[in-house]
Amino acid sequence: MTPGLRTFAVYAVTGGCYITLSVFFPRFILSWVEGAAVLLLVFLVIPFVFDRLRR
């Protein structure tokens, strides 16, 4: 899998999870801030935690 395709797959899976959660809890989740927070969680927080655990 190429890096570009892998990145796309991560976005697609993140989007799928976000949509599933939002459909059932639209009052709490569906806003721009939460959308950006979900992306930052996936692309900033989780890699950071994994990096720390690996050391």
Binding site: G15, I19, S22, V23, P26, V42, F43, L44
Partner: protein
């Protein structure tokens, strides 16, 4: 009102204008007219007390009210202030384009916008119902059942067709060099996170377009009606006698009585 168009229009504009615009002020401009007013249109509960506009459409788009935020002049004033304070022409120009796109897009519904405020004439295409007065969830149900969701779908397609603007190489060669905010962000966090922030509005826009469609038609049973001025099962708001129709609107032949919903 439009739901997803304001998230995605900036990416289509970015695609066409390239280095002549900066995406952050473009997005802020695109959100600006609703940024401080939308919560009061739908209402919020503060310690059990409901805080909401008495007449949401009047407050959101009218005068007296906050409708001036949807005028072309509002964009010019804020852009001029931005220029004065930051001396960055690209920020001012980008904000102006974003705000104008919002003001023009919102002429699509039955209330329309006071484009040429202080002239308080509303310009409305009447393509879909303005239903902010019935609360966020019912408004979503109505919007994602009528021509509004088709209109947003056009922007989903246009922004997706311009997928190259979302790539890392486009970001590095076109978006990053024109706006120092991205350089500051790049110094503070990894590249993947910075690019994720750049893509956030696209991600959010597409996700919520899909989400509300599923919510309205799979989890709930709102009826599709994509006819012009639809959905007809909801009594939408209009700007009363002050609306100038740009095209064929639902106001023609409508009963002036606000309650009966006869068309």
């Amino acid at each position: 009102m439009s739901w997803v168009a304001h998230d995605l229009e900036p990416y289509a504009i970015q695609r066409h204008l390239g280095k002549r615009v900066a995406i952050i002020p473009l997005l802020i401009g695109s959100y600006a007219p609703d940024l401080t007013t939308k919560w009061f249109v739908y209402g919020i509960s503060v310690f059990g007390v409901q805080v909401k506009a008495d007449d949401p459409a009047q407050f959101h788009r009218g005068w007296p009210g906050a409708g001036f935020t949807h005028s072309l002049l509002f964009g010019v004033v804020i852009a001029a202030l931005l220029l004065l304070l930051t001396h960055r022409r690209i920020w001012a120009f980008s904000f102006l384009i974003g705000q104008w796109s919002h003001a023009l897009t919102d002429t699509g519904d039955t209330v329309g916008t006071m484009l040429f405020f202080p002239w308080t004439q509303h310009f409305a295409l009447g393509a879909w119902q303005y239903a902010g007065q019935i609360g966020r969830f019912n408004d979503a149900g109505a919007y994602f059942s009528g021509p509004g969701f088709v209109w947003d779908g056009v922007w989903v397609v246009l922004a997706t067709l311009g997928w190259r603007t979302l790539t890392r190489s486009y970001f590095e060669t076109t978006v990053l060099p024109v706006d120092p905010i991205w350089s500051w962000a790049s110094a503070a966090m990894p590249a993947a996170a910075v690019i994720a922030l750049y893509r956030a509005s696209y991600f959010y826009g597409v996700c919520r377009w899909i989400t509300w469609l599923i919510w309205a038609h799979v989890l709930n049973n709102y009826q599709f009606d994509v006819s012009w001025g639809g959905p007809m099962w909801v009594t939408g708001a209009t700007a009363g006698g002050t609306t100038a129709r740009l095209g064929m609107g639902p106001m023609a032949g409508m009963c002036p009585c606000a309650g009966c919903g006869f068309r």
